[in-house]
């Protein structure tokens, strides 16, 4: 007997033996390692003209790629983290329909920035634009203005790029149907001509938000943590760069620019703990110079007091065993989450008062 083909919008309950005709919108693979060995699985998003749905496949044909229209048979629908997800196993069939084309209705949820995950393809949000810059691009022979900066709400911030849709610094916006992307462990959203952008009045105060380390569960920007550093990575310290190309030098000369002068830079990585968990913090010279009380113009080769040893000692004295206020972005990498500190400082009394208020809010 012919199985009924469901549209995405019709699939509202968990079920077995489901047949659908869908377009592959995204396709990724991941390996789970455990005591029994390694298991490869696939995950992504499928859609049709009524909506889209995430899927997980324990088996998947190798020739199928993003954009293909496929008929999926004997799939199951299960609830995962409060929403319905399609599961494919060895009994499921995936049949390619190379002659078919399909328009997909974008579907997106209204989310806070802290709720945006790499697995979500489109999103709507209310946020304020900050640090916006613009530049002209040539896309397929057409001149386009790209606006980039950060969008912030009362849970965090996220990088954005807007192609052709004007966004100004300080704009308070309602953005519907922006695309979510992950690049080098950072989440960012893209606004294009299909995204609806309107000006609104926000009912919250955007800015850096204090979090417990235990609350951090994915990439997000605009986070502030209060923590104590318990280590300093051995390779933290003075970094030598080519003044021409800014590449890190292993030797005193840049292989590409042997006549260029050496420039100094700083880098540090250290583990911080706040009593609810720990996280690796990485930081470059802009954050570290302020922390060790040095001006940028002092970090130059002509300054004889700057040596690898003096910098290492200064970093150790200011980081290890010290409470730090760290503001920055949470980044996802192969070793898990880390925080890229853009501003790091020792807490003053007003910061300590803020920490107390943050913790006492639990009991109010």
């Amino acid at each position: 007997m012919m199985q009924k083909k469901f549209s995405i919008s019709e699939m509202k309950q968990p079920g077995e033996n489901v047949t659908v005709m869908v377009k592959i919108l995204s396709l990724n693979q991941r390996i789970i390692k455990n005591e029994k060995g390694e298991t490869l699985y696939y995950y992504g998003l499928v859609g049709d003209n009524t909506g889209s749905m995430p899927f997980t496949a324990w088996a998947f044909p190798s020739g199928i790629k993003v954009g293909d229209v496929v008929e999926i048979r004997k799939a199951s629908l299960k609830e995962y983290k409060g929403s319905l997800r399609m599961y494919l196993d060895s009994r499921s069939e995936v049949i390619l329909h190379p002659e078919e084309t399909m328009d997909v209705k974008p579907s997106y949820q209204m989310l806070k920035i802290s709720e945006i995950k790499p697995s979500i393809r489109y999103v709507s949000l209310k946020a304020a634009a900050m640090g916006v810059s613009q530049r002209e691009l040539d896309r397929d022979g057409q001149k386009t203005t790209m606006y980039s900066g950060r969008l912030a709400d009362d849970t965090g911030s996220i990088r954005f790029s807007s192609f052709g849709v004007p966004v100004q610094d300080g704009d308070q916006l309602m953005i519907e149907g922006a695309q979510v992307r992950e690049y080098k462990g950072n989440l960012q959203i893209t606004i294009n001509e299909k995204t609806k952008v309107s000006k609104v009045s926000l009912d919250f105060q955007p800015g850096a938000h204090t979090k417990n380390i235990s609350e951090l569960n994915g990439p997000i920007g605009g986070v502030e943590i209060f923590a104590i550093s318990v280590s300093l990575g051995e390779k933290s310290g003075l970094v030598y760069r080519c003044s021409e190309c800014r590449n890190k030098l292993d030797d005193i000369r840049c292989p590409d620019h042997p006549d260029a002068a050496v420039a100094y830079d700083l880098f540090a990585y250290f583990l911080v703990d706040d009593g609810t968990g720990s996280i690796l913090c990485t930081a470059g010279s802009s954050a570290l110079l302020k922390l060790i009380g040095m001006r940028p113009d002092e970090l130059v080769p002509s300054n004889r007091s700057v040596t690898g040893r003096s910098i290492a000692e200064s970093l150790r004295n200011n980081i290890v065993g010290k409470a730090l206020v760290i503001r920055g972005d949470i980044v996802s990498g192969t070793g898990g989450l880390s925080i890229r500190g853009s501003e790091i400082f020792h807490p003053a009394q007003e910061d300590l008062n803020r920490l107390t208020q943050f913790l006492e809010a639990d009991f109010s």
């Binding site: 104590i228 318990v230 720990s278 290890v320 065993g321 010290k322 409470a323 020792h346 003053a348 639990d362």
Partner: protein
């Protein structure tokens, strides 16, 4: 697969001092057992802060006492090839300095008592702001658990999911239920007093005076040269108005100072 980093708990020394339970484990497991504290915290590693009160070097080990004003932590730092930096750090820190320590617990259980030493992995001089951050956070963590334990005690049968639904994290819910299981009679009032910042000094003799009494007793009563039995010292301490916990602290401190040593199990001799 990378091993998960052992969680470092921020705990007041009083919570450690009142711990009586060691988690049972497989005989084959090499790591030290977890200590279960009265607030249900399952501890193998800690981050503590306080004032370094004293330190003594003997052979290739430094013993030190750190106080956070609720009680004392006892540190043992061995000089080994894996621990040179920590050993060098503590050698250079003077008594009276504020320190922050991350270390692993080294518990030792006798029939009636659990002794807990900390083997530091990191020790550093620190500043007032760090001490304040540590105290504020440690107080907050303990206060949340204390409120949860009271809630669980007054609602027998309350489960993990119920506690999570009331806003406790999974880890906190586990702590609360462990406390109810292992320490049903533990008096939370002392901890609450500490957390409210109104802790009164312990009744009876101060630890300085108590040290003198105990040291005198051990010096004067080691009649057969085999050291004084713990039971006899305890009896003498009670007669002098020194309670059980204070005696244990005094014996630890006298040992750290190099005034006495444990000549055999539970027998103490003056040096």
């Amino acid at each position: 697969m990378p091993r998960k980093r052992e969680f470092a708990h921020w705990v007041f020394s009083r919570e450690l001092r009142d711990s009586k339970i060691l988690e049972e484990r497989d005989q084959e497991e090499k790591a030290k057992p977890y200590v279960i504290s009265p607030l249900g915290t399952r501890i193998r590693r800690v981050i503590i802060a306080g004032t370094l009160m004293q330190k003594n070097a003997e052979n290739n080990m430094i013993k030190a006492t750190v106080t956070d004003s609720t009680s004392n932590y006892y540190l043992s730092v061995f000089s080994s090839e894996f621990n040179q930096n920590t050993y060098a750090e503590i050698e250079n820190i003077e008594a009276g300095s504020s320190v922050i320590v991350m270390g692993r617990l080294n518990p030792y259980k006798t029939e009636d008592r659990l002794y807990i030493n900390i083997n530091p992995e990191m020790i550093a001089r620190t500043d007032d702001a760090t001490m304040q951050v540590w105290r504020t956070r440690t107080r907050h963590l303990a206060l949340r658990k204390t409120l949860g334990i009271k809630l669980a005690r007054s609602n027998p049968g309350i489960g993990r999911e119920d506690l999570i639904a009331k806003g406790y994290a999974e880890e906190e819910a586990d702590c609360i239920l462990r406390s109810v299981k292992y320490y049903p009679e533990y008096d939370l009032r002392d901890i609450e007093e500490i957390l409210s910042g109104t802790s009164a000094p312990p009744e009876g003799k101060g630890s300085g005076e108590a040290s003198e009494v105990i040291l005198d007793y051990i010096r004067n009563n080691d009649t057969d040269g085999r050291g004084c039995r713990y039971e006899d010292i305890l009896e003498a301490a009670k007669n002098a108005g020194i309670d059980h916990d204070t005696l244990d602290e005094v014996l630890n401190t006298l040992g750290s100072n190099g005034d006495i040593f444990e000549v055999s199990l539970k027998r103490y001799k003056a040096i």
